[in-house]
Symmetry: C2
Subunit: 293 residues, 2 copies
């Protein structure tokens, strides 16, 4: 198994049925296709996966369904950070029993003025409570959404304290100075970026790769960011087509790509993109990047 | 039973033992004392109660313990808002079965740019999922902590849609213009304030009372805000003694008042106040307000 999340991982979106439950079959089809497109793995229930909108039970059932559909445990990672650290412990223990070891862990995100020592204590409480040498934690820095930044020193202290159990950090700040600060603070941890246009720059500066949302719709373009210097301009163009808010637009494009309109649904508090949005974006994406084969 | 939270309710703090579990006996002693001080009820697991740091199981076990200690279900309300609406549904259904009907519900607080229609859909999903005429929801507006504001029109639309099931709203913004906006938008809903110095002003403008943290330590002073015009100055002075962050200071004062040092503990990501903080604040509080008898 890999000791950290490296390469091209998809922050996979989560399809829901009309009654709000997860469409496991649609998710397995999409995940299988993404892996066929040379993505290295799937992160379930990140921000793009609407993770905080799904219960622990939802998440565990989904892992089981994907494993049942033939996806390997090494190809799955799980968003597992709750505001209550005991909820994170329970979910991670149950997830480890199913097979996946990589956990993407948000800091507790209600008390947004929590001090650095408190954030460290919260992550430590999770790792101590899980108490299992199999776990590989990737801390999740996305302050513009969660409201809570992870200080680079907190990553460094946790890595020193827990070794490879703290495998790395996902930096979704889209601020490359922040990426450099994480690298400088913890050079042996694997830092991956969420911002697709930073992938080549991050790799050149010791980064481990990406966990990103755009891989849901343009996986080959995300792959190209690993070795084609021309890809960054195309990627920026593709991102610019995604009308904010990002996630409803992204799901509407998946609906257009797959011909499965249910993909446009989101869980509250998000709201679906307007009808036709995905088809319009898809038409322009196909002009810019190679069409899905 | 009362149709909404009215009068003087305490946002009760949650004592934890050395292993991080809830000290039910200490909580029952404190709650019983507060009710003896003429508080009308106790809101468990609000912001002051570190609600987001506790699991659904923690919350249900605590309700059961307090009922077992002789506190009436009518005197209890429960913080019950999770980022995942299905978690809120499950908790509220279980809590209703125990007896309490008043639920203080945060908006989903991860996606901080969720549109008003999405917040309405989230609250509606909870009420539809609970599907029980006994529930009385008090929406919880505390944007400076949760990151998510509840628009007055959202309260008005939900009140029109669900009637008395949407009993009211707790406005913890400490912005009295916001209180007036909620009153204007939904005049038949019960608006209570979190900011202790606004209590008299809110009552004079049609408010229902308060749910507040300071009632943990100066309940008679909070009571005085209902009928003594001189109380506001004393209250402002008492609040000024609480060194930020508020909650660790508050818990350290409860520790000093009760002689139970365990009250100083907090769950991560918060950090306890420095040793001696509570004793020092308590000494000054006793100079300013009547000492606990």
């Amino acid at each position: 198994m890999t000791e950290s999340i490296r390469g091209c991982w998809v922050a996979i979106a989560t399809p829901v049925t009309a009654d709000g439950s997860i469409d496991h079959a649609a998710l397995a089809r999409h995940g299988t296709w993404l892996l066929e497109q040379r993505c290295d793995g799937l992160v379930l229930f990140g921000t793009t996966g609407e993770g905080p909108s799904f219960s622990a039970r939802d998440r565990l059932d989904t892992i089981a369904a994907l494993l049942g559909a033939g996806i390997a445990p090494e190809q799955l990672a799980l968003g597992a950070g709750f505001p209550c650290f005991k909820d994170s412990i329970a979910l991670i223990r149950d997830a480890l029993a199913l097979g996946p070891r990589h956990m993407l862990i948000l800091p507790p995100y209600f008390y947004r003025d929590a001090p650095a020592a408190g954030l460290e204590a919260a992550f430590a409480a999770i790792l101590d409570g899980v108490n299992d040498a199999r776990v590989r934690a990737t801390l999740y820095h996305i302050p513009q959404v969660s409201g809570v930044a992870i200080p680079p020193e907190t990553l460094a202290r946790l890595r020193a304290r827990y070794g490879t159990l703290v495998a790395g950090l996902k930096d979704s700040s889209a601020d490359f100075a922040q990426f450099r600060a994480f690298r400088a603070a913890a050079s042996d941890a694997t830092i991956v970026v969420g911002n697709e246009t930073d992938i080549a720059r991050a790799l050149a500066n010791g980064g481990g790769g990406t966990i990103c949302g755009m891989a849901n719709i343009v996986p080959s373009l995300v792959r190209a960011m690993f070795d084609d210097p021309g890809a960054e301009t195309a990627m920026a163009g593709a991102i610019a087509l995604m009308r904010p808010p990002f996630l409803p637009s992204l799901k509407s494009v998946i609906a257009a790509m797959t011909g499965e309109p249910g993909w446009s649904r989101v869980r509250p508090p998000l709201i679906s993109a307007p009808p036709g949005a995905g088809v319009a974006i898809m038409a322009r994406l196909q002009d810019m990047v190679q069409p899905r084969t």
